[in-house]
């Protein structure tokens, strides 16, 4: 016999005992007993679960489906390894108040522009780019204009009179990696 069934039997027996002896009670004791009798018998979690699944309310059914989806989603994210290698993230940042578009070009993109963003419109444009260890030459393009001297660069190189910045990623001195 399961615990919930045994509990149900015990409750029924106690209720019968109380009802049979109700006539003999009087005063405070009688009032307490009658109050207890008014309380419905507490259902076990198993009974409540059975009742819910037999006739679920729409709100709880929806919550259950969402919870199951979330569980599956979390399992999907945690169990499948990302195809992107675990490279260190490098912050490229430049102050360009009033600029309409800012991007960074460099060895890491084969000199194709990677757009920077300024979501809070404070004129500070930035992008975080994951990079493997190495030496990278790069420059910013502010509204299409070449800006080769990043104050955060480790070195500069002049190529045909234009500067490019140099950043090393990895190793003990890679202070710009975040």
């Amino acid at each position: 016999m399961r615990w919930d069934e045994l509990e149900e039997l015990l409750r029924a027996a106690v209720r019968k005992e109380v009802e049979e002896g109700a006539g003999r009670l009087s005063g405070l004791e009688e009032r307490v007993i009658r109050e207890i009798l008014r309380w419905p018998a507490r259902k076990s979690w198993w009974t409540r679960a059975r009742e819910f699944f037999a006739q679920p309310t729409p709100r709880w059914a929806l919550a259950g489906v969402l919870a199951a989806l979330l569980l599956g989603f979390a399992l999907g994210r945690l169990t499948v390894s990302s195809p992107i290698p675990q490279w260190s993230s490098n912050l490229f940042v430049i102050a360009a108040p009033g600029a309409r578009s800012v991007s960074v070009v460099g060895d890491f993109s084969a000199w194709q522009p990677i757009p920077l963003s300024d979501p809070d419109k404070d004129g500070i444009w930035m992008a975080s780019i994951p990079l493997p260890p190495g030496r990278y030459e790069y420059a910013f393009l502010v509204d299409g204009k070449w800006v080769g001297q990043d104050p955060l660069a480790e070195e500069y190189l002049r190529t045909f009179g234009e500067y490019v910045s140099v950043r090393y990623v990895g190793g003990e001195r890679a202070g710009l990696s975040s």
Partner: protein, 241 residues
């Protein structure tokens, strides 16, 4: 009823699982080698030249001396210029590969194709790009020749399909440091900064793991101003290599 509920729960979980996998950030896959060769074949070069370049590039992709991503971008740059110029530019790359040099490190550092793309991004003409590529090839040949002469590296086998060795990257980075100093830093023979510039570059590259520390240590110990000057002289005098 229980079986139905369990099946429903598993179905919903499975849906979430698939969705969870699908939203993982996906890196753009690099082009396949045959896509690069197909692009090359459509550029209108002679079949002999196309075949020779295709063979060198394919061997380079397999051995790690070139990557499909940067090579395709480079070919797309070449497709925008007159065919004769494009052929000369591509011949430099083919010859460099045939000599076993790394022509493209992908998205990580010095290489001939990356240099060409940088110069084009700077708005330089293709004539200037071609001239720089020729000089870079000269520095690569001279550097390897001098390093072998001083027994820093050995030249047992040369070719685009020879397995890549640590010394291949050393030759590339040393040639690039010498080239940067002479071409871009305004350096000259006898410049007292020359040795420190090159040694500093090699040490820094070793510190981030691009170069083998042991090989770099041996090289830095051997390098002298006169060895660097020898590399520069050889680079500008191909008949002496």
């Amino acid at each position: 009823m229980r079986a139905f509920l369990l099946s429903f729960f598993l179905l919903v979980c499975g849906t979430g699982l698939v969705f969870g996998e699908a939203v993982l950030p996906q890196s753009t896959p690099p082009p396949r080698p045959n896509e690069v060769i197909d692009f090359l074949s459509a550029m209108g070069f002679s079949p002999e030249f196309t075949g020779a370049v295709a063979a060198a590039l394919t061997a380079g992709f397999n051995s790690g001396r070139a990557t499909t991503t940067v090579t395709l971008l480079f070919l797309q740059d070449l497709a925008k210029i007159p065919r004769e110029q494009a052929e000369r530019g591509l011949e430099i790359i083919r010859f460099a590969l045939s000599q076993g040099f790394i022509v493209d490190t992908g998205f990580a550092g010095s290489s001939m194709m990356n240099e060409a793309r940088k110069l084009l991004a700077l708005g330089r003409s293709w004539e200037e790009v071609e001239r720089v590529l020729s000089l870079r090839l000269g520095f690569l040949l001279a550097t390897r020749s001098v390093l072998a002469r001083y027994a820093v590296i050995s030249l047992s086998a040369i070719g685009p399909d020879v397995p890549l060795a640590a010394s291949d990257r050393l030759v590339l980075e040393l040639a690039w440091a010498v080239g940067d100093f002479i071409l871009w830093e305004g350096g000259t023979l006898g410049d007292p900064r020359f040795l420190g510039y090159v040694q500093g570059r090699l040490d820094r590259l070793a510190s981030v793991g691009v170069l083998s520390s042991a090989l770099t240590g041996r090289t830095v110990a051997v390098l002298t101003p006169s060895i660097l000057e020898e590399i520069v002289r050889l680079a500008f005098q191909p008949e002496r290599r």
